[in-house]
């Protein structure tokens, strides 16, 4: 465990400078479940900073608390300790200048794809005509134009998730949170949707927090990857990904790719996620 502590120390120094200019700032965030004596420390302390327009991934094994961290950063779950600022204001209630995509698409079965996306417009009381135009544009960019009038159960898993992404972007939020958005999709769809998301992100440059357990997705999409350890979930390593965009479907052509991937695998091995002999 000495190595992990050393990794953390190195991170702490970086964090101070990053913290100052970040759009989303989490400081010493912890989460434990249960009563005081038998409380289970699930998360933290975690420092998490996301700059304006930065694409940050959190990569970690199942059950490391990365989804919990995202819910806390979105103000959808109270933290046990620590503090969160968004745009220099403390986060006291659910963040609303945000779009969220979960692994389960969470579309309403009784609304058509377009109506699901326009739920944002209805709830937020935005201009219908403008939002409809924006929704159609997103359907086009996400490769699902023509699906507007279909109900969720008439769509494939990949299309459902694309509608869910459109719903998260239609109101042009400053922040996009994604919790394993492609986790339920097949490998072929994942590659395509990853690419489409990257193009969309390059156009809008939102601040993104992307939770994943896919190394390919993390390297393929991120500006920065944060690796999380398990129980309690902590960020133990930061990897800056410096690859040109848009990144290709097959990342193996880049020599840097294997460098990043190797670093991630070694970190996982040090954390005890993998045991290779």
């Amino acid at each position: 465990m000495g190595k992990i502590t050393a990794m953390r120390k190195e991170l702490d120094v970086k964090n101070v400078e990053q913290h100052e200019r970040s759009f989303i700032r989490g400081l010493g965030v912890t989460k434990s479940f249960g009563e005081e004596a038998g409380a289970f420390a699930a998360l933290g302390p975690v420092d998490l900073n996301i700059a304006q327009g930065e694409f940050v991934s959190i990569l970690g094994p199942s059950g490391c608390g990365k989804s919990t961290l995202m819910l806390i950063m979105a103000g959808l779950m109270p933290a046990t300790g620590g503090k969160i600022d968004v745009d220099s204001k403390p986060l006291l209630k659910p963040l609303t200048d945000v779009g969220i995509v979960f692994q389960d698409h969470l579309l309403l079965e009784f609304r058509t794809a377009l109506e699901n996306v326009l739920l944002q417009q209805q709830v937020r009381r935005l201009d219908r005509v403008a939002l409809k135009r924006r929704a159609d544009e997103l359907f086009d960019k996400l490769g699902i134009s023509g699906a507007q009038g279909r109900y969720p159960r008439q769509l494939s898993g990949g299309m459902q998730q694309r509608v869910s992404i459109a719903r998260a972007l239609v109101h042009d939020p400053a922040v996009l949170f994604m919790d394993e958005p492609f986790g339920a999709l097949d490998a072929i769809s994942r590659t395509q949707i990853r690419h489409d998301l990257e193009i969309l992100w390059m156009e809008t440059r939102k601040s993104v927090l992307f939770i994943t357990h896919s190394i390919d997705e993390a390297i393929g999409l991120s500006d920065r990857i944060l690796i999380m350890s398990k129980s309690p979930g902590r960020i133990v390593k930061e990897i800056k990904v410096d690859l040109p965009r848009p990144r290709p479907a097959y990342l193996g052509d880049y020599p840097e790719f294997s460098k990043y991937a190797d670093e991630i695998y070694r970190t996982f091995e040090e954390l005890g996620v993998y045991h290779f002999n």
Partner: protein, 264 residues
Amino acid sequence: MATMARQVPKIGVTLASDRVIYPLIVLLLFFAAWQYGTGLFGIPGYLLPTPSDFLGKFVSDWAALSYHFASTAYVVLLGFLIATSISIPLGLAIASYPSLRRNAMPLFVFFEIIPKTITAPLLIVWFGFGFSPRIALTAVMTFFPILVNSIAGFSSINPRLGLITRSMGATPWQTFRLMRVPAALPHIFSGMKIGMVYAVAGCMTAEFVGANEGLAYLILSASSFMDTALMFAGIVATALLGMLLTGALLALEKWMMPWRNERS
């Protein structure tokens, strides 16, 4: 990026005329077999009237049949509406407050378990003769299926959807109107469809026990004259009433839940 603007081919669509004509032929064959079978086997008309006998009653006794039909229809509709307007809000309350569900459900289950028909004599003591006891029994019979299904409906929403609505800053009223109600509708409608069948049965039971009008009253009085043809006509009229009301409910369901009409 390829667009998905393809039109879904229309497979398995039957012509409307096909859906009407073939069942109608089956019905006519059934009546024809009945008509000639009774003669063939020498079954006397006072035991089993032929279709022409009891369908003829719709002409000869039209005034009586339509009068009692209207009376029963009025009671069924009113009783159904009363039961619906109480059981749906109550279902919402029970689904919304876990303590109410825990503490009051045993009582509701106790009432639900009572065969409602045996309360008919009591309802007559309470409400006297006339419309009131018939409406009361109809409402009591209709009440529970709609209540049970409303509770299920208002509990059916995926709690994780709350993550989406909260991040949109939705008010409780928006969440209720835009999510909870539409999600509950399919359950509520199945409750109402069962309830409608019960409503007709409830009204007929009350009419048997004590009433001076209604289709069950007509059937009962026809039986004292051994007028089996009129009894059959009364039964057919009751079935028609049930079909009419259920059909209206189905049309309403189709209109309110367009997402159910689409093919997968």
